[in-house]
């Protein structure tokens, strides 16, 4: 293994590793634009230049591999490479490169949405000049639309080509290319082929400057006002790590968060824009369907009493059926499974059917799961006595049916329609209106996805913690709490949980494969269940 020295720090690294990777990992800041760990190296921005002893010119750290030197050529008799990132030569080089990159940059930070998280701002401040010697007129170009979700401001672009490499290597769709030469170079799309692939939003994330912008987020808030919540996406079973950015209790945007166990660096556009679905008409209070198709708001206590009455009238606790939700965290599903098991010896609980498509795979390795449940695997893991399908519940008469609808992603068809029709009274636990809630007799409101807390298990067995980014409305309760209170009403046993983590702890105590999992170990990147890890 080559032994190298960077700024006096001795490091033993593997032969062939990139100098930039090694320096960044060692905590040495080397500015860079075109280099992105998920993409190939082009070395076009020329900013990551470092001085390597024995080499006459500055070297770009991103394209310099580390190798073993022959014994007689080792520096000081032992180092294979000695690197400096802060010499006068390097500092002068960085200043010159930044001055060049800013030649045609409009410096319109006040109207630019990237301001606050902009590579040009940060590096100009740290490594650049306070002034430019460029006296000519700046090149001015019109903004263009690249696709339905992304716009480009050509003036701000520094031609790092991260976006072009993204469409070549990660999505394999090749929509973007570098048009023209020299002064006329620009990022462009081919006529009639807009940037509309399901990962297109990522180009705005990886753009180090304000050139590529999400139209959805354009001119909404300034980034320094956002609160960043590190959570996981619940839209499909891939379970990508995300950062939910919110202000004033409203989600403003969702950006990807690197998690090599789940999604790598990127997220898909379904997940990125999913928060808009939950902005409209959340439930605020329990609602009962009244004769004449209207809905009546009732207090929680009255809602639970109503359920108790209906259970007594509809064949007792033994005739209660339940559908667990693949769109809700493990915690409510676990509690539901526990108390339903106590109500009857028969299998009285099944998984709510949600949309199943085929997986979408991209050349770069990114996968969008076709299972739109999100937590299907988790629900199967934490409910031991799950019936094979909704159809299996038809074997006996149904009194009251409890449906955890979660985000309203269930499809109202086939067995589910028949089961709801056969039931005397249907209780739906959901956060927003859906086909299922329309056919319900009683709706119990729960918090919307970004106000939810709990664990999610993706289809690979990775358990991640959902961190709430929003506060739910006053009279809306947490999903696990509603289910626990339902269980208390039906079994007469006190529920013993005071917060979501309590339930998680209980799950880890009793569920096969979850024994090693704790809230602390889950951290921000999650942890595999024992069966998935083994």
């Amino acid at each position: 293994m080559p032994l190298i020295k960077i700024d006096g720090q001795e490091l033993e690294v593997e032969a062939g590793s990139r100098l930039l990777d090694v320096a960044l990992e060692a905590g040495i800041e080397v500015p860079h634009y075109c280099y992105h760990p998920a993409l190939s190296v082009v070395g076009s921005c020329r900013l990551c230049m470092v001085e390597v002893e024995g080499m006459p010119k500055l070297q770009t750290a991103c394209s310099t591999p580390i190798g073993e030197a022959p014994p007689d050529r080792k520096v000081d008799g032992k180092y294979d490479m000695v690197v400096h990132t802060d010499t006068d030569k390097v500092v002068a080089g960085q200043k010159l490169v930044l001055e060049f990159l800013l030649l045609n940059h409009p410096l319109d930070c006040p109207v630019c949405d990237q301001a606050g998280e902009c590579g040009l701002q940060d590096y100009s401040f740290k490594f650049g000049n306070a002034h430019s010697r460029f006296d000519e007129d700046k090149r001015v170009r019109a903004a263009e639309e690249l696709g339905s979700g992304v716009a480009i401001n050509q003036n701000r672009c520094i031609m790092c080509t991260r976006c072009v490499r993204f469409t070549q290597e990660i999505t394999g769709t090749n929509e973007l290319y570098v048009h023209g030469r020299g002064y006329d170079t620009k990022i462009a799309i081919f006529d009639g082929l807009p940037l509309d692939n399901p990962l297109s939003g990522n180009v705005a994330d990886i753009c180090p400057v304000g050139a590529l912008l999400l139209k959805d987020y354009m001119h909404t808030t300034r980034v320094w006002h956002l609160s960043h919540t590190e959570s996981a996406c619940v839209e499909c079973s891939s379970g990508c790590s995300i950062t939910v950015d919110a202000t004033d209790n409203v989600v403003r945007r969702i950006v990807s968060r690197r998690n090599d166990q789940a999604n790598g660096h990127f997220i898909c556009d379904f997940g990125r824009y999913s928060f808009h679905k939950y902005e409209r008409s959340e439930f605020k209070e329990p609602m009962r369907k009244t004769p004449g198709s209207g809905w009546e708001m009732i207090p929680w206590r009255q809602a639970y009493q109503l359920i108790a009455d209906k259970v007594a009238a509809g064949g007792g606790p033994g005739a209660v059926k339940a559908l667990a939700s693949p769109t809700l965290p493990n915690e409510p599903n676990y509690i539901l499974g526990q108390f339903m098991g106590r109500l009857s010896d028969r299998k009285n609980i099944a998984l709510l059917p949600v949309t199943q498509l085929s997986d979408m795979e991209f050349p770069g390795g990114f996968r969008i799961s076709g299972d739109k449940g999100g937590n299907s695997r988790g629900a199967r893991d934490v409910i031991p006595a799950l019936a094979a399908s909704v159809k299996a519940l038809h074997k006996t008469d149904t009194g009251v049916i409890i449906i955890l609808d979660g985000d309203g992603r269930a499809e109202m068809k086939g067995d589910l329609t028949r089961l709801m029709a056969a039931a005397q009274f249907s209780v739906v636990v959901a956060c927003m209106p859906s086909e299922v809630t329309q056919n319900a007799d009683l709706v119990l409101p729960i918090a919307a996805p970004y106000a939810r807390e709990g664990t999610f298990t993706n289809d690979q067995g990775l358990v991640q913690w959902l961190q709430p980014a929003l506060h739910p409305p006053d009279d809306v309760r947490a999903d696990w709490q509603v289910v626990a209170e339902l269980g208390q009403q039906l079994t007469g046993e006190d529920h013993l949980y005071s917060y979501a983590g309590d339930v998680t702890w209980k799950i880890t105590q009793t569920t096969v494969g979850y024994g090693q999992i704790t809230r602390f170990r889950l951290g921000k990147l999650g942890q595999f269940t024992a069966s998935a890890a083994g």
Binding site: C109, P110, V111, A143, H219, T221, H225
Partner: protein
């Protein structure tokens, strides 16, 4: 450090109080023939010095459009958190700025008139004017919105409003409508 405490010990003549009265009357007599320091407000308005930090205004550019681009620098700089801005894409596409405020409210009751907003503004859009007499009977009147701030620009852009009022121009500062 020692502190020197001066005490007043009245002398023989001081105990008559007459010299003190005479000195006071002399001062009054001298002042009667000097220029008066008081002004008959509100018939004549006090004109603050240049750089006085009074009511805010939002400037307009040569085309009459709002200069503000809703960058929220003033809101960020404001120590009293009295500015509330909601940006939106600008309705014009003829080369003006691509962003402008949909909502720009200043709570004048919270404002401490430090002028940080003016210093932070990269577009010279927000400025503090010389206006000081905008009291009102309602709190709502003292939350000034975008249109109100532009109206302040209209009445203050032709020169110091109090100098003009003293010259006899009739300029109304209608707080309820700001």
């Amino acid at each position: 450090m020692a502190t020197v405490v001066r005490t007043y010990e009245p002398g023989y003549w001081d105990k008559f109080y007459l010299p003190a009265i005479a000195r006071g009357l002399l001062l009054t007599l001298v002042r009667m023939f000097r220029r008066k320091d008081t002004i008959p407000y509100p018939d004549i308005k006090y004109v603050p010095a240049d750089g006085y930090r009074g009511l805010h205004r939002l400037n307009k550019d040569e085309d009459g459009r709002i200069k503000c681009v809703a960058c929220e620098m003033c809101q960020t700089a404001c120590p009293a958190h009295c500015i509330d801005i909601v940006p939106e894409p600008a309705p014009w596409d003829d080369g003006g700025e691509e962003r402008h405020p949909a909502k720009f409210e200043i709570d004048l009751l919270k404002c401490i008139f430090c002028g940080f907003c003016e210093l932070a503004c990269p577009k010279d859009a927000i400025e503090l004017t010389e206006i000081y007499d905008y009291a009102s009977f309602s709190r709502d009147d003292l939350i000034i919105d975008r249109e109100g701030l532009l109206k302040v620009y209209d009445i203050t852009s032709m020169g110091n409003i109090y100098e003009r009022q003293n010259r006899g121009e009739s300029i109304q500062i209608d707080t309820g409508n700001l």
